[in-house]
């Protein structure tokens, strides 16, 4: 012990007085011994303990990895769902009604108001009230639109489908409600033969648009046309309609409306009234003017 102390002193070299005192004080600290039951407790502890080598070493890692993976999964679920619903909402947004060139419909105002057309069994004028307020109704229709699934679908006349009975607009007097709910109670007024829900697939080019718009323009007059190789052929003329009285025949090729070619942009660029059409009957061009009788 003395030798060890001597060796330690040599190792330390020359110490200051303070260092020596500190050293003495620390060395004089009473030694603390293990309790009497140390061995007994140790045996019990060894008996209860598991050898460290049998403990799975990945457990500490799992402690962090598991919660982390759960958090990542939850985030991924939320993000994927968010994107999915966003896409769904976007698709739903695309199905919103696409307004159909309202100015063209406006051109038919006078025809819709014409007594001949008003007599026709059009949903637009089932009674006097509606007939009287047809102008305002048409205005509503302008804002209304034909709901279509995609831009490639445009409403045209087709087979008449049974239209679901619309709920009575009793709530209309109560006021309030959203624009959509209010619109759902309105009775939609459409030109003869056209149903709001009628859809037909078509491409978005101008030629098709012209076809459709021409059809829409001529239908109130009682003319039903079909497009063949870029020409509009009269397929049928409604009995006792203004067209029949004016002399429109089945097989006529419609070339002009109000002096404007139906194949050009005039149909949807200009405000045509549909008072006169030019048809090709065989090789002869015939101008037909509709009077309001």
């Amino acid at each position: 012990m003395i030798n060890k102390d001597l060796q330690n002193n040599t190792e330390d070299g020359i110490l200051s007085v303070g260092d020596v005192k500190i050293r003495q004080m620390i060395k004089n600290l009473p030694r603390v011994n293990a309790p009497k039951d140390f061995d007994f407790r140790l045996k019990a502890r060894i008996a209860n303990a598991q050898p460290t080598e049998f403990q799975p070493r990945f457990l500490p890692v799992l402690r962090y990895v598991l919660p982390l993976s759960v958090v990542v999964l939850v985030f991924a679920f939320v993000i994927i769902n968010g994107v999915y619903f966003a896409e769904k909402t976007q698709i739903a947004g695309n199905t919103q009604p696409i307004p159909v060139e309202s100015k063209i419909i406006t051109t038919n105002d006078s025809q819709i108001l014409s007594p001949e057309v008003a007599k026709a069994p059009v949903e637009s004028a089932p009674d006097k009230d509606i007939a009287d307020s047809s102008e305002s109704k048409v205005q509503v229709k302008k804002k209304e639109s034909i709901p279509v699934e995609e831009t490639n679908f445009v409403a045209v006349k087709s087979q008449k489908k049974p239209q679901p009975e619309l709920p009575k607009a009793k709530d209309a007097d109560e006021g309030g409600g959203s624009h959509d709910s209010a619109a759902s109670y309105l009775k939609v007024i459409t030109p003869n033969g056209i149903h709001v829900n009628d859809v037909v697939e078509t491409s978005p080019n101008n030629e098709h648009k012209n076809d459709i718009l021409t059809k829409q323009m001529l239908l109130p007059l009682g003319i039903e046309i079909v497009s063949e190789n870029g020409k509009r052929r009269v397929q049928s003329v409604k009995k006792e309609s203004i067209a029949e009285r004016s002399g429109v025949k089945v097989g006529d090729l419609v070339e002009m409306i109000d002096g404007e070619k139906v194949s050009g942009d005039a149909v949807h660029d200009k405000k045509l009234e549909g008072k006169q059409i030019t048809v090709l009957r065989g090789t002869e061009k015939v101008e037909i003017t509709f009077d309001n009788q």
Binding site: I22, K27, L29, A34, L42, T52
Partner: protein, 210 residues
């Protein structure tokens, strides 16, 4: 296999011829590896007090020191097969004890951070404890000595852990610089400088007693 049997038998022979108390640490470890419980018990008997004392001075908490001393022996027991005789056994066991003590100190720090009271305490190890000098006359010499020991113990316990282990091993356990360097896995120069630094810090902390 045959070698194992031979070693086991040789250990038994050694035990019968030489009293177990006179066997070296390495011989006892070899015996303990072969399942010789008295050999391991002898190792425990030799080191339980130094390790408990070392840990007590390191942590300044007797219960914790005893608990960690036991944990040290549990670790030694389950790692007997992996023990190599390159180092002295005392170096090996002190290294385990030091690592456990450092882990315990870090746990305490974490607990201190979490606890509400921790926010209102000066938690830095580097900071000095405020110990106002006691001006009252002391009635009993033993009491004075006990009180002085407590103050020194607290001063050691408030040293940063990197200075605490070397100074305790040097001044309390009487280890050489080489041993300390091996136990703490440090260079000799670093060990010496840390011990000197620890002495300097203690001198500042205990200037009232010097």
């Amino acid at each position: 296999m045959a070698l194992d049997k031979f070693e086991k038998r040789s250990a038994e022979v050694l035990q019968t011829i030489v009293p177990i108390e006179k066997l070296s640490d390495h011989e006892l470890i070899e015996s303990a590896k072969g399942g010789d419980e008295p050999a391991f018990a002898e190792i425990v008997r030799r080191y339980r007090n130094p390790i408990t004392n070392y840990l007590y001075r390191f942590l300044n908490d007797y219960e914790e020191a005893v608990d960690l001393a036991q944990e040290t022996f549990v670790r030694v027991y389950f790692a007997l097969e992996r023990y190599h005789t390159e180092f002295a056994f005392s170096t090996y066991i002190y290294r385990i004890a030091t690592n456990l003590a450092i882990s315990e100190l870090r746990k305490r720090k974490r607990r201190k951070l979490v606890s509400l009271t921790g926010f209102f305490q000066y938690g830095d190890d580097e900071e000095e404890d405020f110990q106002p000098p006691d001006e009252k006359p002391l009635p009993d010499v033993n009491l004075v000595e006990n009180e002085q020991s407590k103050i020194i113990g607290r001063a050691i316990a408030t040293l940063p852990e990197k200075y605490r282990a070397p100074i305790v091993l040097r001044e309390i356990e009487g280890k050489s610089y080489d041993e300390i360097a091996e136990i703490l896995d440090l260079g000799l120069g670093t060990t010496k400088s840390r011990i000197n630094r620890a002495r300097g810090l203690l001198k500042e902390k205990l200037k009232n007693l010097i």
